[in-house]
Amino acid sequence: MTDDEIREGIRLLARTTGIFTETAGGVTVAVLAKLAQRGDIDASERVVVYITGDGLKTIDCARGTFETWEIDPTVESFEQASERLAVPA
């Protein structure tokens, strides 16, 4: 697994399960995703994925995977930002 695939694995797990894992877990989820995409796993299989460490251990890997809105403390500023970022409700 490449470094990008590992980061994507961390992100996929966090966004679909609410679990933030360290890089080792990113590697593991990336392998699961690759096997599933290649069709190596039957849809009906019972699969257990071992997440062996917490994301706070390698927190730098989360850097650059999301955007933060920085605004002034006014409603106008918030509305401007949300229009610009066009996040659907």
Partner: protein
């Protein structure tokens, strides 16, 4: 079942249950050998497990030390969570996450360190030590502190700061070595020859690695005593991978669970994949590599149990 000896994985020579890890005859790795469980009553074993403590010590019948020593930082029995969102995204129906980040120091290393320190205390050691890529450092420092033992933790100097901070806080002797993990490990192997210390992943390794079997036991128990079809787990030294497989096998052999053993998929980072490379090339040994990956806890270029991880791979 109390273990009966240490036994060489290669030539089967047996040794007393001491702080030793390598066969004097053939230099093969030693592992803990148990008496045969033939004739054991699975219903009784199951009852003993279910009446046990809410930690990995409920599986004492299958471990080198049967009960936690006083002042143990109890680990294990982490959640097995259904991951329907992840499954849906990948076109699968049944995916579970075994979240071992829920251990006391937030990684599966609490399992192996529990076993190593429990045995070290039985053998009378007063100082615990380890070579670590970070997670093991956290666990050794924490479990030694709980037990009231001195500890020395050797880490590569470029380790992530979070792991360094989360180790030092427990009051260990923290030694940053200018080198990579394989250098740190080599130094510790030299030190273990002339210090009367329990190095959890060197001279305690046979006991240490047994702790990983509890991940398989918990999985089976949490799936209502059934087996998964497939497991996906990370590989660094290969120890987790082989012992996870061993855990499932032991419970099938003793009749605690029935069915086919799961298919195993191991995960290595591309910048450090000696086991995957050996498999791809059809070799039964691992060619050491110089690691380059963001997954520092996978960055073991010369994996101790690499050849055995290969053999566990169907």
């Amino acid at each position: 079942m109390p273990p009966e000896s240490l036994r060489c994985k290669e030539c089967k020579t047996t040794y007393p249950l001491e702080a030793r890890y390598v066969c004097e005859q053939c230099f093969g790795p030693l592992e803990v050998a148990y008496p045969s469980l033939d004739g054991a009553d699975p219903a009784e074993l199951r009852r003993r497990i279910q009446a046990g403590p809410p930690s990995l010590w409920r599986y004492g019948d299958f471990l080198p030390v049967a009960a936690p020593p006083p002042r143990a930082l109890e680990a294990g029995l982490t959640p097995l969570l259904r991951a329907d969102g992840l499954a849906e995204q990948l076109g699968l129906e049944h995916v579970w996450i075994k979240n071992d980040a829920a251990n006391p120091t937030h990684s599966f290393k609490d399992r192996v360190v529990s076993m190593a320190i429990a045995r070290a205390r039985e053998l009378g050691f007063e100082t615990i030590a380890c070579a670590s890529t970070g997670n093991l450092a956290n666990a050794v420092a924490a479990h030694a502190a709980a037990a009231g033992l001195d500890s020395y933790v050797f880490i590569p100097f470029d380790l992530e700061e979070q792991k360094v901070l989360a180790t030092g806080v427990y009051g260990t002797n923290l030694v940053a070595v200018r080198g990579n993990y394989d250098d740190v490990n080599r130094l510790c192997t030299e030190l273990s020859a002339d210090r009367n210390w329990a190095f959890v992943n060197i001279n305690m390794r046979p006991y240490y690695s047994e702790g990983s079997k509890t991940l398989a036991f918990e999985t089976v128990e949490q799936l209502a005593f059934s087996l998964p079809d497939r497991v996906v787990c990370p590989i660094a030294s290969g120890s987790l991978f082989t012992k996870l497989a061993r855990g499932f096998e032991e419970w099938v052999e003793v009749g605690l669970v029935e069915g086919r053993l799961p298919v195993f998929n191991g995960a290595q980072a591309e910048g450090c994949s000696p086991v995957a490379t050996a498999l791809q090339d059809g070799q039964d040994f691992c060619r050491p590599v110089r690691p380059s990956t963001i997954a520092k806890s996978r960055a073991i270029g010369n994996p101790a149990d690499g050849p055995y991880a290969e053999r566990s791979t169907p």
